[in-house]
């Protein structure tokens, strides 16, 4: 996953729900140096009885904000969607260099 252009990741999920899987896996895909390189990562854990759907919000350097319904999306499609925008930004940054 291209994480260079992500500035903010915020997730909300109930870990006791099987549908929180993709949100949790997304967090594990962020590199170890994510926070020190300026990415803000916020995680809110819901109570066990909560039925609120899990959510994932990713903000990019160009200000674009993507909201994902991580309840229904798998980790592969999440990464695909994030990378789709990251690749556009990467192309732009390559041209500027």
């Amino acid at each position: 996953m291209i994480t260079r252009f992500i500035t903010e990741v915020s997730t909300r999920f109930n870990p006791f729900s099987a549908r929180s899987k993709s949100a949790r896996l997304f967090l594990s895909f962020l590199p170890p140096t994510a926070r020190s390189s300026g990415m803000t990562i916020t995680t809110k854990l819901l109570a066990r009885t909560s039925t609120e759907p899990s959510s994932l919000t990713v903000k990019f350097k160009d200000g674009k904000e993507l909201n994902f319904d991580s309840d229904t999306m798998g980790i592969k499609s999440l990464i695909e969607e994030v990378d789709r925008h990251s690749r556009i930004l990467q192309k732009q940054s390559d041209l500027n260099e």
Binding site: P15, F16, K21, R24, L27, S28, L30, P32, S36
Partner: protein
């Protein structure tokens, strides 16, 4: 790899030993098939055949493979024993059977130095819970923060819940010397264990609602680490929580003056990536709030026990007084009724006596 060097010779030896005897059996069998029915049925030939078979196998039974024989197609694994899947499964099942307090964390790409810093801070905080030399210090020294293989831990969870080793019936097996003995294969890697787990989790059928595995299995996703405490000690749990997932005011992070190492950038970046997702305490599954509630029990289990004893004693006193009260009131009413009846009877008896006296006087 020493056994492997020995095996080709052993295998060749076996081949040599088996060679002629096998061929004799084969030839005699084919001969028996080719013979006409009358000839084959004659007693002499069958007896001869049986003898031949016996002698053939007697030769084989004297030949024995060395105890450390390793088949060339199954070389010993090169993996260190403590990270083999089978060994991990054994470790996890024994961990689940013996450990009353397990906290489950998600760790997202922590580096080795960050793990080292977190473990250091955890150990410092746990050591501060109680003076050395006590039981509490013993608990603190046995607390472990370990990264687990999630899928194997998931299997171990199933095994611990759905498989009861004591219910496996013994089977007969023959030893190397041909003796029949009763053996119980009920270890966690046995076929019985596999079948017991498979019987419950097979297909898409939902697991029983009371199943602990069904509650815990959603947590077994992605990278998971466990904090294991050898006893349910809320004091140690509170100390661990205040380091690993501080949440003021109940579990404040250690102060900057007392433990400067905690505010080391390496330790802090590691702690940010560590996320408490749940816990398993005394076999029950708790979420974060539940874990915090257990950690917030003041004075530990002893104080809870004292509370319970106090409650039962006061309840007992109340009960005896209630029971006594009922008896007493019954006795009082009966007694008062008795007295009143006696009083009512007395004048009547006196009157009757007077009447009798009057009649006697008249007769006279």
């Amino acid at each position: 790899m020493a056994p492997r060097i020995r095996c080709p010779a052993a295998a060749r030896g076996l081949g040599v030993a088996m060679g002629p005897s096998c061929s004799t059996i084969a030839s005699s069998r084919s001969a028996a098939l080719l013979w006409p029915a009358t000839l084959a049925a004659s007693t002499t030939t069958t007896r001869q055949y049986a003898k031949m078979v016996e002698s053939a196998f007697a030769g084989v039974s004297t030949l024995r493979l060395p105890d450390d024989y390793v088949p060339p197609t199954k070389p010993p694994t090169a993996r260190p024993s403590d990270v083999r899947k089978s060994q991990l499964l054994r470790t996890y099942t024994s961990l689940l059977r013996s450990t009353p307090l397990i906290l489950i964390f998600q760790h997202s790409n922590l580096t080795a130095t960050e793990w080292a810093a977190i473990r250091r801070e955890l150990n410092i905080a746990l050591a501060n819970v109680s003076p050395p030399g006590t039981d509490a210090a013993e608990i603190a020294s046995k607390v472990q923060l370990q990264v687990i293989r999630t899928r194997i831990f998931d299997v171990a969870l199933k095994l611990v819940e759905f498989y009861d080793p004591s219910k496996v019936a013994p089977t007969t097996a023959s030893t190397a010397s041909g003796k029949k003995v009763k053996v119980t294969y009920n270890h966690d890697l046995s076929k019985a264990a596999y079948e017991a787990v498979r019987a419950v989790t097979k297909g898409d059928a939902p697991l029983p609602a009371t199943s602990r595995y069904a509650e815990l299995s959603p947590l077994m996703v992605g990278p998971v680490a466990l904090l294991t405490l050898p006893a349910v000690s809320p004091d140690h749990l509170a100390a661990a929580l205040s380091v690993l997932s501080p949440s003021p005011p109940a579990f404040p992070a250690p102060s900057r003056r007392k433990s400067p190492g905690y505010y080391d950038p390496i330790a802090q970046s590691g702690l940010q990536k560590l996320m408490l997702v749940g816990g398993r305490i005394e076999g029950k599954v708790f979420d974060i709030d539940g874990v915090k509630w257990v950690g917030g029990i003041k004075g530990g289990l002893d104080s809870l026990r004292a509370q319970l004893v106090g409650m039962l004693q006061s309840a007992g006193l109340g009960l005896t007084s209630v029971l006594e009260g009922a008896g007493k009131s019954l006795w009082l009413t009966m007694e008062s009724r008795k007295i009143s009846m006696e009083e009512a009877e007395k004048p009547a008896v006196v009157e009757e006596a007077e009447k009798v006296e009057e009649v006697m006087e008249k007769k006279e």
